[in-house]
């Protein structure tokens, strides 16, 4: 009895929402970053699920590119966090409001 694709999609959705909750609720930049990674992976899961359902490999290629983007994003993001940390000695997102309107 194979697992219906819907379940995978639901799981992906759940994980995605968990990621968003993490971004909104936690104030530490690192945790926010990890939740973003979580959201990206949730999307990967959905991609793979659809690839399987439609029997087309494009889904998996998309995941490949998502991974690339995620990697670059993490690298640059962390570099920024370090730079901020060095100047403001904090990782808390709320302190960083220089760009107020």
């Amino acid at each position: 009895m194979t697992v219906p694709i819907g379940a995978y999609l639901a799981l992906g959705a759940l994980l995605f929402v968990l990621g968003i909750a993490g971004v909104l609720l936690r104030r530490s930049a690192l945790i926010v970053f990890m939740s973003i990674e979580l959201m990206l992976n949730a999307v990967n899961l959905t991609f793979v699920a659809f690839a399987r359902q439609l029997g087309r490999l494009e889904g998996q290629v998309a995941v490949f590119f998502v991974l690339v983007v995620a990697a670059v994003e993490v690298v640059v993001g962390l570099a920024i966090i370090i730079a901020i940390f060095r100047t403001r000695a904090t990782v808390d997102l709320d302190d960083v409001d220089l760009l107020r309107g």
């Binding site: 009895m1 194979t2 697992v3 219906p4 694709i5 819907g6 999609l9 639901a10 799981l11 959705a13 759940l14 929402v17 968990l18 990621g19 968003i20 909750a21 993490g22 909104l24 609720l25 936690r26 104030r27 530490s28 690192l30 945790i31 990890m34 939740s35 990674e37 979580l38 992976n41 990967n44 899961l45 793979v48 690839a51 399987r52 359902q53 439609l54 029997g55 490999l57 998996q60 290629v61 995941v63 490949f64 590119f65 690339v68 983007v69 990697a71 993490v74 690298v75 640059v76 962390l78 570099a79 966090i81 370090i82 730079a83 940390f85 060095r86 100047t87 990782v91 808390d92 709320d94």
Partner: protein, 182 residues
């Protein structure tokens, strides 16, 4: 049999997700991210995406999470939340919005469900098949991705570089410190 694996992996993934959000110390949340990635890899296998699963483990779990740990170690002392939370209204808003989004997504999933699962050959998700496609139809995006990676690397080096002690010979104002004075 497949159902059992799926249930286990799903449970693991959700637990990992909650762990990232709830845990106090960033190390534990990094580890729970690791757990999530593992479960996802398993699920990918279930969905005949061996290449992706492998990638997931090698790149994601292997590199990115490790990088996280490095940074966590680097900033380990002051990562706790000390300052008062100025955006008090954000937590309830986050929960409400999250709930709404979940409902929306599940709604779409449930509304669109149906449509049979296509039968697929054995070598469907293998590295060879994906590689075949990657280097033929997706040639341009692949190259673009490589350029993106290059840029990312350079950016990280420049941003992450510690300020040189003495002002640089060219007299350009040292970034950061001067910016703050104005």
């Amino acid at each position: 049999m497949e159902l059992v694996i799926f249930a286990l992996a799903a449970l693991g993934a959700v637990a990992g997700g909650v762990g990232i959000i709830a845990s106090r110390s960033p190390v534990r949340s990094a580890l729970s991210l690791l757990l999530v990635l593992g479960c996802l890899a398993a699920l990918s296998l279930l969905l005949a995406a061996q290449f992706i699963a492998a990638l997931q483990i090698i790149i994601y779990a292997g590199a990115i999470v490790i990088l996280f740990l490095f940074v966590v170690m680097l900033l380990h002392a002051r990562s706790g939340e000390t300052a008062p939370n100025r955006l008090g209204w954000l937590t309830p808003a986050g929960i409400v919005l999250g709930g709404l989004l979940l409902a929306g997504l599940l709604g779409t999933v449930w509304a669109r469900d149906g449509g049979g699962v296509a039968s697929v050959g054995a070598e469907f998700g293998t590295a060879e098949a994906v590689g075949q496609m990657l280097f033929t139809t997706f040639m341009l995006p692949f190259e673009a991705a490589s350029v993106l990676l290059l840029v990312g690397i350079i950016a990280a080096v420049i941003i992450g570089r510690p300020e040189p002690a003495s002002p640089t010979a060219t007299g350009t104002p040292r970034r950061g410190v001067e910016a703050r004075k104005r």
